[in-house]
């Protein structure tokens, strides 16, 4: 039994961030899969660990007892500072500022837009297919806070307004252009060394060539494609993605292609991974 236990869903988005950071640092950890679409995160046994019911969460046992950590980006910073292994934050203070800036920009501005598209076209429909509307309604009804029930209903059933989807689409377009420009300045996203910003960014952006084939491909975003493939080739990334249990995990395999041409926007929708 390892001192560290990570409670996570698929190696994707917020769950994927601490998973990959732990793998990069070479930290042994017990993987505890939380089936988010089966609402495991609202069960008493998980709420006893993280009363907020958010995923991921990490526990770390030591002389101090058991620490419980939440919030994926903050967990990554803890992992980097607490454990030996390759430093995922550079020594230069301005580089560290840039890494933090990009992580906040992705976490708060860009990721919610990707998330809205992901739920609308992929996660929501897959959840309905796997569990059926009645079971999901019953699970949502058990969530204690009414506003969380509303948010979950909106996400699973894709109840986003046209204006919300349009704004998310705009942000995705702007965000991809910003990433492309930034990756034209240096090899990695926010500094000259592989860092937490790259771990964060990969988990946000790896599926873009599938979900946004008109915006992210080898013709219009060569820097992004170079960067995604470089991270995909890392042994830690490969190990991380072995922990996936759903078809979501197979999406990353698109990065095995040497050349991805531009395709129409509708092909992203048809692929069911937006």
């Amino acid at each position: 039994m390892a001192d560290v236990t990570l409670y996570h869903w698929e190696p994707n988005a917020n769950s994927g961030k601490p998973m990959l950071a732990l793998m990069e640092k070479g930290v042994a950890f017990d993987s505890h899969y939380i089936d988010m679409l089966n609402f495991d995160q609202h069960r008493p046994e998980y709420l006893a660990i993280n009363p907020q019911g958010t995923i991921p969460a990490m526990t770390h046992r030591g002389p101090w007892g058991t620490r419980v950590l939440v919030e994926s980006t903050a967990i990554m910073e803890y992992v980097n500072e607490q454990f030996a292994g390759p430093d995922l934050m550079p020594a230069d203070a301005r580089d560290r500022w840039r890494i933090r800036w990009w992580m906040k920009f992705m976490d708060q501005w860009l990721a919610p837009s990707f998330s809205m598209f992901g739920w609308k076209f992929f996660v929501g429909p897959n959840a309905l297919k796997a569990h059926g509307q009645d079971k999901i309604e019953a699970q949502i009804a058990r969530i204690p806070l009414p506003e969380r029930q509303t948010a979950w209903r909106k996400a699973v059933f894709g109840l986003f307004s046209e204006a919300e989807m349009a704004e998310s689409g705009r942000r995705i377009g702007v965000g991809i252009q910003m990433l492309e420009a930034e990756l034209g300045k240096r090899e990695w996203l926010a500094s000259d060394q592989y860092s937490l910003a790259d771990v964060n960014g990969f988990n946000l952006a790896y599926a873009m060539p599938l979900s946004q084939p008109h915006l992210a491909n080898d013709e219009v975003t060569p820097n992004i494609m170079r960067w995604l493939r470089a991270i995909y080739r890392r042994p830690a990334t490969r190990e991380c993605w072995k922990l996936g249990r759903t078809p979501m995990a197979s999406r990353v395999e698109i990065l095995e292609q040497d050349y991805i041409p531009p395709r129409d926007e509708s092909e992203g929708i048809a692929s069911g991974v937006r």
Partner: protein, 250 residues
Amino acid sequence: MQMILYHGEPNGPSLAVLAALAESGVEADCRPIDLLAGERHALPGLSDATARDMGVEGEGPVLVVDGEAMTESVFIAQFLDESGRQTLQPEEPYAHWQMLMWCRRVTERCAPAAAFLGCRAHSAGKLGTPAVASADLAARWDMVRRGDFPEDQVTDSLRHVTEAVDMVEQQLADGRDWLMGALTLADFETYGWLAGMAELAPHAFAGKDRANAWLGRVRARPSVQAALARATTTTPETSWAPGPEINRWG
């Protein structure tokens, strides 16, 4: 390394960064700008304006280092601390995580609410017409310009401010002087957003003796006094400009 700190009146994120600068001992050329006039969007000599244009914080201070615009008050404060005396962040990783989590709660929940209430009360009719690169920040400028402050967001914002004060009160329950035990940049970040709320949400502070005493302690710090001495108005706590957006997911 040439460092220029463009800051608004010593309130909100500008106050937090000015205080952190003074605590850090780092030398920077401090230049006041009028955030409501939009001067932040026309700074000279920027070679990389990405963070100025697209920062989540909205109209906060900008630290320009060798032409690169740096934004987000917590991260600027971390940069200054790490470039200087290194006294404002816990060294122990778990304590550091706790401080980061505190700052996230403040910047994600309290800051949008405080900026919203502050602009509603004090900024209408004072806005310039800058060219704002970020479409969503430009939309927040337009909301303030139109006086478009929906009642449900007023109610929600008051709730977030109240929760932030409650959080401070609870955190100080063991008799500590500062939020994290030792003084950290979390004290300045939290103070910056809450100081102006005493007037706008007095019920949030009523009976919160520990939080009110803490506000007094932070205000008395020489670094905060030095920041407040840079004010060009007698009431800097009423200076607000469009800030972070209210969470799109509710």
